[in-house]
């Protein structure tokens, strides 16, 4: 019986050579360019130097919002970018975290430092409960279900005025720590920066671990991962809960920082904005996610001057960037740089 050779098969394809031999430790140069050392170092450097450029409250506000969005997006990237599971409802978890902080502090007198973990725990439990049935779905059905969860949260926050203040939102009192009120951009900048750095570190660790490989593996070939012993449902649920908890933490930070929450923080477009940040920067790239969050937080601020036209321009930019760079900013740039290098060498 004849064996058939599939088309496209060529044994003459150029074999690549690789500098890094396995089982060996990385050289200092390689460490410098690795994500965990070089990337984290660059991130910390940028965060430490940024205040030198910030001259007023408004600029601090924008920088802090960038940081808060970045926390959500690094988490969401674990789910969407690495594990390949779409969510169009994460603003719902963000808003639940924000409202948990707002409600627990104003109505129940809890300290903000306790309200944040309480909210995160609550959101974690909720996410866990809905994750199992939801993550059996795939593709557009999953998109629909997560979208539905977000819309439902939005509507509940909007309608239960006795608890949430309704469409007008509610105020959140200033947190005090040892008699010192946590108020103003300079303080919140460092709080958000610390949480962001921690988040990025944890995310990088997770991705480069057996769990991270399981997540990327189930994205790339779900049956193969399953057959290799990866309990794919378990890991999908796990990463869904992690991303929801990070969104909740960011929501709490945002509530305490801005001292105000509105139901619109749970809107469909807020969810879309988070996903767009992930994809803009580059899916499955933690530093891409950071860049996406920074750019898309900045963009509306820059567009505010185009009175009336800002929506049109935002829509156009979303379309253009995604058409020109479907893989996102960072992977596209890295790809270009690599090609340059290769051409320079040959």
């Amino acid at each position: 019986m004849a064996t058939i050779k599939p088309s496209g098969y060529s044994k003459h394809r150029k074999k690549q050579t690789y500098t890094r031999r396995l089982g060996t430790r990385a050289t200092p140069m390689q460490m410098l360019f690795s994500e965990r050392v070089g990337g984290m170092g660059a991130l910390i450097l940028v965060i430490a130097c940024l205040p030198l450029l910030l001259s007023n409250n408004y600029q601090y506000d924008v920088a802090i919002t960038m940081g808060i969005n970045a926390i959500v997006v690094v988490g969401l990237n674990l789910l969407v970018g690495y594990a390949g599971q779409v969510s169009l409802g994460h603003a719902g978890f963000f808003a639940l975290g924000a409202y948990a902080s707002a409600i627990l502090t104003t109505r129940y007198g809890l300290h903000g430092a306790l309200a944040l973990p309480a909210g995160a725990l609550g959101v974690g439990v909720l996410a866990y409960l809905i994750a199992r049935p939801i993550l059996r779905l795939s593709g557009h059905y999953l998109a629909m279900a997560t979208l539905g969860v977000g819309v439902i949260i939005h509507i509940v926050l909007d309608r239960e005025a006795w608890l949430t203040g309704g469409p007008d939102g509610m105020y959140v009192p200033t947190i005090e720590v040892a008699g010192v009120p946590l108020y103003g951009g300079a303080i919140w900048y460092w709080i958000v920066a610390a949480v962001l750095i921690l988040t990025v570190w944890l995310a990088l660790n997770l991705i480069d671990s057996p769990i991270g490989r399981a997540l990327r593996g189930l994205h790339g070939a779900e049956v193969a991962a399953e057959v290799a012993g990866v309990d794919t449902t378990h890991y999908k649920v796990m990463v869904f809960v992690i991303s929801a908890v990070l969104a909740s933490v960011a929501g709490s930070l945002s509530a305490h920082f801005s001292e105000f929450v509105t139901p619109d923080s749970a809107s469909f477009f807020h969810s879309i904005l988070f996903v767009t940040m992930v994809v803009f920067g580059g899916m499955a790239s933690t530093f891409g996610a950071l860049i996406g969050a920074a750019l898309l937080t900045l963009l509306p601020q820059l567009l505010a001057d185009f009175s009336g036209y800002e929506q049109m321009i935002l829509g156009l930019i979303m379309m253009l960037v995604m058409i020109v760079m479907p893989r996102g900013l960072l992977p596209t740039l890295v790809g270009l740089a690599r090609r340059r290098q290769r051409e320079a060498r040959s």
Binding site: M1, T3, I4, K5, P6, G8, Y9, S10, K11, R13, K15, Q16, T17, Y18, R20, R21, L22, G23, L202, N205, L206, D208, S209, P210, I211, G212, R213, A214, R216, G217, H219, G220, A221, V223, A224, A225, E226, V227, A228, G229, V230, D231, T232, M238, A284
Partner: protein
Amino acid sequence: MSLLRVEGLGIHFGGVQAIEDLDFTIEAGTIHSIIGPNGAGKTTLFNLITGVYRPSAGTILLDDTPIAGRKPHDLARMGLSRTFQNLRIMMNMSALDNVMVGRHLHLNRNLLACLLRLPPVTRGDRAARKLCTELMDLVGLSAYRDADAGSLPYGALKRLEIARALAAEPRLLLLDEPAAGLNAQETREIDEVIVKVARSGVTVVLVEHDMKLVMGLSDHILVLDHGRTLAEGTPEAVRNNPAVVAAYLGTV
């Protein structure tokens, strides 16, 4: 006691009865081949054994434990591992990371340990990287150690499937057409790998159209046709079985 016993196994897809009332056993430490014309149900049988499909009838016993309907990841824990005829490579990962996924069950998967990158995780990963590199060498993928899986040619991807399956250190390894699409030289190499693996004590179930390979390797052959057993026995017995000869002369 047989390692694997199948009794009255059946599955249908809509009107297509892909496997029907199938019985056979696989003894530990043997190379057991399953052959048959296209569409005979060989891949479907693999999918049933590894839990990818749920049978409509019958039982599958691994060490006398019923496993029909169990999830593939549970069965992996029990020592089952396989390759896919239609390649299932994680194209978003490096070739080595693909093999490392195969190592999953042997590594520290505690969430906290992974988040904090505790020493057990890094130590386990380092050891696994070494072992997986050796496995890649074994199947002849030394040239692709750190390459992206997406950049590998077809023949290399077939071997990558095998390396990933071996990384799990299975007791029962199911290979679905490992030599399809390979040239004679590559087929010989795969042949050697299978022999090596079998010598190390792993039970191998092989689906393959390359008769030379099958006849040379197998301790036992099961011939499927239309989801049923057409013949069964040693390579000699199967080769001389008139029903098999008729079926093959009819199809080739």
